[in-house]
């Protein structure tokens, strides 16, 4: 049963898309919130143009993050002030990102850039995760407690602000910069950026871990929403049919994923995720390096 995706300009089997939506839901259920950085490549694999995959992926993350942030909000684990500062950076970053995206699109290079970004990022992240897992398996535990709050040059920056929930007194430039970078990522790659933002919030900003996840989700909701709207208005690259099918599949998949995730151990989960991420990046690299039978992407339209 094929369904025509109006923006992607492509007929795909509805069950394929449902399976991907379900699969992504399953993954994000197993590995926690996120999964945008796996969904976009998967969509590219089935032939959705990267530009559409990115814009539509951001859509799905809005939905996934809202349910996530509610739980944290109720427990008081969202630093609203920090979230807003991150958000301002994120909105600026994602707006610039979408503008860059349009520019690249006009030059006809957007698909290439998205692909390269994914190969680089997934490659780095996958490798780092794998190294972390292997290290942990080898040496079990070396109990070195690192200082959580080290004074360095960042504390000399101006515009200091008090963040009560995070018990921090730091320059607002830092969270703004983190937000900006993640916003850029979000616009160009269609991801929430939690996998970059969470470590950045802990190690660069020095936030207590308990508020990190909730606060990052709070920021992600609005930034990905901004990306979706700007992409839809500026680049006409959000495919509503695709997004709806993905969300539908995702909701169902997440239910089962959460159950599987509860059974598996943390180290196993991480090892699996690392392998998955590396496989996806290798496949993307392979597709980039060996150019296909159809040399021009125009041939897709003429079929």
């Amino acid at each position: 049963m094929d369904i025509y995706l109006p923006i992607a300009e492509l007929s795909v089997n509805i069950f394929t898309i449902l399976a991907i939506g379900g699969g992504i839901g399953l993954l994000s259920g197993i590995f926690g919130v996120g999964g945008g950085f796996l969904m976009t490549p998967l969509l590219i694999f089935i032939g959705i143009p990267p530009a559409v995959a990115v814009a539509t992926g951001a859509n799905q993350i809005v939905a996934a993050s809202i349910s996530g942030v509610l739980a944290h909000w109720r427990r008081g684990n969202v630093d609203l002030k920090m979230g807003i500062v991150l958000l301002i950076g994120g909105l600026v970053g994602s707006t610039i990102g979408v503008w860059l995206f349009s520019l690249l699109k006009a030059m006809g290079q957007v698909d290439l850039v998205v692909n390269i970004c994914y190969v680089v990022f997934l490659g780095i992240i996958g490798t780092m995760m794998l190294v972390e897992s292997i290290k942990a398996m080898l040496e079990q535990k070396n109990k070195k407690r690192k200082k959580s709050h080290v004074h360095n040059w960042t504390h000399g920056l101006p515009f200091k602000m008090k963040f009560r929930r995070s018990r921090l007194y730091i320059s607002a430039i830092l969270p703004l910069a983190v937000g900006l970078f993640v916003g850029l990522l979000s616009a160009i790659m269609g991801v929430g950026g939690g996998f970059v933002m969470v470590p950045a919030m802990i190690y660069i900003l020095g936030m207590p871990t308990i508020v990190v996840v909730g606060t990052s989700l709070f920021q992600i909701i609005f930034v990905t929403a901004n990306v979706t709207i700007l992409q839809a208005v500026g680049n006409q690259s959000v495919d509503v049919v695709l997004a709806l099918i993905l969300i539908f599949g995702g909701v169902i998949g997440a239910q089962y994923g959460a159950r599987i995730g509860a059974i598996l151990k943390g180290e196993q989960l991480r090892g699996l995720l690392a392998l998955l991420v590396i496989c996806v990046s290798l496949k993307l690299l392979f597709d980039l390096a060996t150019r296909p039978e159809e040399v021009y992407s125009l041939t897709q339209l003429l079929q």
């Binding site: 590995f31 926690g32 996120g34 995760m129 972390e132 897992s133 942990a136 407690r145 959580s148 939690g194 996998f195 969470v198 470590p199 802990i202 207590p208 871990t209 308990i210 990190v212 996840v213 995730g261 943390g266 180290e267 989960l269 991480r270 995720l273």
Partner: protein
Amino acid sequence: MSDSTATPHNSEEAPAKKLTGRTFLCVVDETEEFAAALQFACRRALNSGGRVALLYVIEPAEFQHWMAVGERMREEAREEAEEMLNVVASVVQKRMGHMPVLYIREGKLREEVVKLIEEEDGISLLVLGAASGTDGPGPLVTYLVEKMAGRLRVPVTIVPGSLAEDEIALIT
């Protein structure tokens, strides 16, 4: 951390089993009704020659993509638990004149409460605070009363969170 003063680590150092008097177990959290439960437990223990035990349950954190982040989370949760227990323990010491028995467990709150009561024979009564708001008495009270009350080894006392200090003093 505050390892110098009576580390609230696990049960080993707690002489709960040898105690002749009764032990009143309180589950520590940040709610208002906990204060009522604690006061009740302290006064009852004081009046009956028993002692107070405190349990803090660390809920396991959700899965993190980065191992270092996950580890950091566990450490910080543990530190927070110890800090909290230390504060509450010093309150108990002020009221009772001796340190309470301290337990820290990691896991699901309801399961760990039931498990601890099964494991520690010294515990003779569980004192819980019930929230006075419209949202019900709180998840632990609801669970224990609805599902487990008949199967527990010890009686459960539920202290309404709306009781004022002098009212509790009167009852106990």
